[in-house]
């Protein structure tokens, strides 16, 4: 089973994307396996709506473990299964909180095991702020790392926010040669393209 890892800075919308993408692929409830380096792993099945309430937050570094779920994409008459891994957000510099750092280290350890990398960027933030303050060093590094992978795409999130066009342009400018899919994790926009991209690389 191939693995799809969701990477990005904190507050880019990784968890919301993961849950809504699962809903888009037709699940009513999602079975998450939460794993973190210290406490091992445990599994919970949660209704989509509850999952959003529980796991999504606008606070930075809300996700600290890796949340994974097995999903499937229709494939001819059958379906292909893959594992989606929602990770702790990465940030520039060295974070002062050890649990946050541990989450990031665990994310890095998992990146190497994934075949497909979906890199979530906050295009609303990029539209609003200077590139220097919105795209992190870590994003450039992830993009360079992604070049080694065939299954690497940038998800330019939050296109539901007004005046986001400028952000999308900046993303394409900053990451030339990469596959950029504009999405809205909140309104499930652009999910068909994401599904097709994942399907191509399964």
């Amino acid at each position: 089973m191939k693995r799809v890892i969701i990477l990005g800075q904190t507050n880019a919308g990784k968890t919301l994307f993961t849950i809504n993408f699962a809903a888009y692929l037709g699940v009513q409830s999602i079975t998450f396996t939460f794993s973190d380096k210290q406490r091992g792993s445990y599994t919970r099945t949660i209704e989509i709506q509850d999952a959003i309430e529980l796991l999504v937050s606008d606070r930075a570094h809300h996700t600290r473990s890796i949340q994974s779920a097995v999903l499937q994409i229709p494939w001819g008459k059958a379906a292909k299964r893959f594992e989606i891994l929602d990770t702790a957000g990465l940030s520039d510099g060295i974070h002062s909180d050890e649990t946050v750092r541990r989450g990031m280290a665990y994310t890095l350890a998992t990146v190497r095991e994934a075949e497909i990398i979906l890199h979530v960027l906050d295009s609303a933030l990029i539209a609003k702020k200077n590139v220097l303050h919105s795209i992190g060093e870590v994003d450039y590094q992830v993009a360079q790392f992604g070049q080694l992978h065939t299954g690497y795409a940038i998800l330019a999130n939050k296109i539901d926010v007004p005046h986001v066009k400028e952000g999308l342009d900046k993303i394409c400018e900053e990451f030339p040669g990469h596959f950029v899919i504009p999405i809205s994790a909140l309104l499930k926009l652009g999910f068909k393209e994401v599904r097709d991209f994942v399907k191509r690389h399964l």
């Binding site: 890095l108 870590v138 080694l148």
Partner: protein, 320 residues
């Protein structure tokens, strides 16, 4: 912080992130650098495999059976000592300074380099490079400069191997010679940086013996002695063949016979300076040039002709 050394060890990179020593960006760039262009991570190669690869490099060397088994013995000893330390058992500090005795061209430098790489992988040395020096690199003309010069070389070799060729020459020149100062400086540094530097003294067997006799303090500080025997005629012949193969040449039948006879003859005469791979390399290189001279006048040459070394190409005279 971003030490190049850690690049191949992802576990260590994650550890550095967790302990807040490097940022995620730095970690990603380190992981990326250790992943080759085919997208296949070199990091997959485990420590054991890398050690096995270096061991193969050692066993591939022709002859040197006693050397090989001794190196493997040392490796096993170091490994077990490391395990004993982690099991909190009593263990003496491992002293790995060595003496290599043997004629020139018997593989001393090659083996020293392999040992460096081996100990790097085993975590005994932090860099595993080898710095090859001789008397002139250590001893200066004027008083007081020798210690400085020697320390400079020792500093360069820190984390790796300091290979002192013809080490006995340090004791030549009697009491007033500065060679003694070089030895004293070296011994002092060896005591101070016990763990992360290996000094190898190399040279001809007999002068080395005398050298150690006259400096009794040295013998105890270099607990490992490896003798490099001269190659036998057959081993030399195999070395010659391998050298030619690497260069895409082949000996024809007559040439094989002639080469073997030459090697045997010289071995029988027991020339002090012969018996060695370096002399064989000179012989081979000379024959390659002779072949070129033979072929250059021909208008067309086939692929086989270009590869073939005939008996005429091999010269009788072997200069050491």
């Amino acid at each position: 912080m971003a030490n190049e050394l850690h690049v191949n060890e992802p576990e260590r990179i994650y550890g550095l992130v967790e302990h807040g020593e490097i940022s995620v960006s730095e970690a990603l760039s380190m992981i990326r650098k250790s992943t080759n262009q085919f997208g296949k991570a070199e990091v997959e190669i485990s420590k054991e495999e890398r050690i096995a690869k270096i061991q193969r490099e050692l066993t591939k060397l022709i002859g040197l059976d006693s050397v090989k088994s001794l190196v493997l013995e040392i490796q096993a000893f170091v490994e077990i000592t490391q395990r004993r330390i982690s099991a909190r058992l009593a263990s003496d500090p491992v002293v790995l300074h060595m003496i290599f005795k043997g004629n020139p061209g018997t593989g001393k430098t090659t083996v020293a380099r392999i040992i460096g790489k081996l100990f790097l992988e085993m975590g005994v040395l932090s860099k595993g490079h080898s710095v090859e020096v001789e008397r002139a690199d250590l001893v200066a003309e004027y008083i007081g400069q020798t210690a400085q010069r020697t320390r400079e070389q020792l500093r360069k070799a820190a984390g790796g191997i300091l290979f002192i060729d013809e080490a006995y020459s340090l004791a030549r020149g009697g009491e007033k010679d500065f060679g003694k100062e070089a030895i004293d400086t070296m011994v002092k540094t060896m005591e101070d940086q016990r763990s992360d530097l290996i000094v190898i003294l190399a040279g001809y067997s007999e002068p080395m013996e005398e050298f150690l006799e006259t400096n009794p303090g040295l013998k105890s500080r270099f607990p490992i002695t490896i003798e490099f025997p001269d190659y036998s005629a057959f081993e030399l012949f195999k070395i010659a063949e391998e050298m030619l193969e690497q260069r895409d040449y082949q000996l024809n039948k007559a040439a094989r016979r002639k080469l073997f006879r030459i090697i045997e003859d010289v071995r029988k005469k027991e020339q002090v300076n012969f018996g060695n791979a370096r002399a064989i390399r000179n012989l081979i290189e000379k024959s390659i040039r002779q072949q070129a001279v033979r072929l250059v006048s021909k208008k067309t040459t086939s692929r086989t002709q270009l590869m073939e070394i005939s008996d005429d190409d091999i010269q009788e005279v072997v200069d050491a």
